[in-house]
Amino acid sequence: MEGKRSNTKPSDLLKKIQEITRSIIEDICRGRSPSLYIDRFRNYCTDATGNCFCSLDLSIGKEVLALQRECHARRLDVLLRVLLIVQQLLQENRHGSKRDIYYMHPSVFQEQSVVDRAINDICILLHCSRHNLNVVSAGKGLVMGWLRFLEAGRKFDCINNLNTAHPVPVHVEEVKDIVSVAHYILVIEKESVFQRLANDQFCNRNRCIIITGRGYPDVPTRRFLRLLIEKLSLPAYCLVDCDPYGFDILTTYRFGSMQMAYDAQFLRVPEIRWLGVFPSDSEKYDLPQQCLLPLTAEDKSKIEAMLPRCYLQREVPHWRLELELLLQRGVKFEIEALSVHSLSFLSAEYIPSKIKGGVHI
């Protein structure tokens, strides 16, 4: 089921880069401003009627980058600089990180997000994913549990040290020979909770694989999670804080991010289930008042901005209800708040009982 793009071999991409260069030269030789037409994508809109086409992964229009506005001239400058670097990486079959690229012209790029945007634009122009450009991110995800695999011939044997965190492989396309006896995959928002579970030797007593993206998940973590689900056909459960950021991270796993909407079909994990923690858990598990923090104004406006996202209404209306409830109750709490009763409550009671009882949405 893994969607694969065609024509993403380095030689194909180099040809496409040449086409772009040639079209720019043809433009300027005809006395026209060089123009790049970049498709625009979005993975959600705020159309309340639900009559939108966001689920189809179609381009919603084209943006023209030409030398008519200063901001476009600047973007064109950045984009072409990054394109030149990508051409060199592909020709020499080397890899570079987004950060490496940033440091090649820091004074021009000014900030990392400028480079990231250019990389996204290039992916759209070349119809490929970021890793096809030989551009990788540093990789911040962690994994542990009943799993063994090879990455570029290197063996990752997590089963040997069940409760030790391993970094998520950066070159996901080179991951092979995945072996697992796990029954499910647990996706954890935060490293602190991941380490709590490692400390409690959660995997000794539960046949599972645990992954964390350490906050908003990066591309390798999401691609790796997708690969595991596809290869092993395991259910995946996600545990996030009961606050707007936790919910947003949950939707990033499930639907992808807006910044990389063009690639959402290869990054999202539609199978993921929300295990907790739910706003209603505070009563269900009898959390004392001091564990509950009032929502700030910023929290509230973030929730209000998330509620109209079309995919919530269309695909996970029950998630949306929980989000509404969060806003109504006006309090948030972290996963760790469950430790108020006992340190091992999370690993010994909360997670196993939820999975066993099917208490996830």
Partner: protein, 470 residues
Amino acid sequence: MDVSLVHQLCQNLISSAIQRCRMSDHLCRLSVFLKLSPPSDPPLVRISVSDTGVGSCLEEFQCLKYAMDPESAEKWDGVISLTTTGINDSDIYYYHLNLKEIVSTRRLTKLPSSSKNGTTFSGTEVSFSVFGSVDGLLVKLTYFLNKVLILRIPNVAIEMLVEESDDISGSRCKTLVPANDCFPLTSAASNVERLKSGLEDYVFKHGNNLNDICHSCFSSGVHLKVGSGAACTKRRRSTGQVMEAIIIISELSKPTTSSCFRACDVKTEVLYFKDFSPSSISQSSLNGLTSIDWKSYGLILRSIADHDGYALLEWENLPPYAHIDIVMKPEGMQKSHLDRTLIRKAVKLALNDLKEKNTGALLSTNALKICSYAPDLARTIGGLILSSNDLDFQGECLSLLGLQCQEIKGETTEDCIKRKIISAIEMNDRKPQRNREAAPFLFEDDYFQEPDVLDEEYEEDEQAFSSFDL
């Protein structure tokens, strides 16, 4: 002496003389003559304005009105002598006009006329005498006439002379404004063309202060950047109003003599003509000038000042020793409420025309900013070509650029690309904003919206005006 009152009177007399010359079918001469009497205290000056145009029907003098304050009353008795004869008249008529007389019917006194003895000619002389020094007046009148010369009024020669006499050397005559060449009225040269060459001369002669082109400034083929435009009202073409505008940008090397310094003033006097005379400019016309988006021509207007009724535009960012001259001339019926739009339209047409004809001139502030990206863009695009390991692709790109493969050197390629980028930016900047290349796609979704929205300049009352470039 109250210079402004006398000056005002002289201007009016000259203006009406110009009208009489224009009505004539023959070559005409217009002389302004100031005769300074032998030194006396206070000095006495006889000022006369004479022309060989059609005779006067006196109407233009009837409506002269001046508020005479007691001070000027001491210097001028308010009496003007008039001598005029029409081409068909057999006599020359003499009058006295007393401007102090409040009842207008009593102002004019007819004097005995004299016979022309069968000769055929026409003309008018108006003269009056005032007490006081005339230095200030001479400067102002010279300035005024130098501006009139811009118009190159067909078949009219204009001059100004001053005669001084003293007991020692008798009388000396000095020419302040030499009689200009008479411009024949040919159909080939349109009004705008005449105005254009008149303004070019004005610039070459440093405001017509010199008798000839200033060779030290304009010798080495210094090229004036000239643009012209005419806007007219579309409706009721028969009574339509036309506004002509000429703009000249002159850039000099360092000026050598002091008379040349005027040429690099950062201020521009708006030369505005009404009925073939330099005139002050109306407030609505000024508003029209202020409302032009000068930035889209790379100019920053610091202020508009009023200088003796003439508008002075002060620029913020002119290059050193550059000067802008603007002349505007309305024709046809005057409807002041249209001035604003017409002036704006005509000046913009002239600016566009100048930009069209002079590569790189008047680039918009935006285009200048974008041009600053050209070197970096060129270096990167050059890099994309030269660092490619596909030699066929390299060869193809270089031949597209018109370069020989032997020339493959980074700098050559880069330079070539840079030149082409800049010329594309310049070409695009010359197009009127409405017609520029495909506008960037805008999204309804806030997520993609850029903070800087292109500031388009919209025309007001677009339907009412047509434009033609000349």
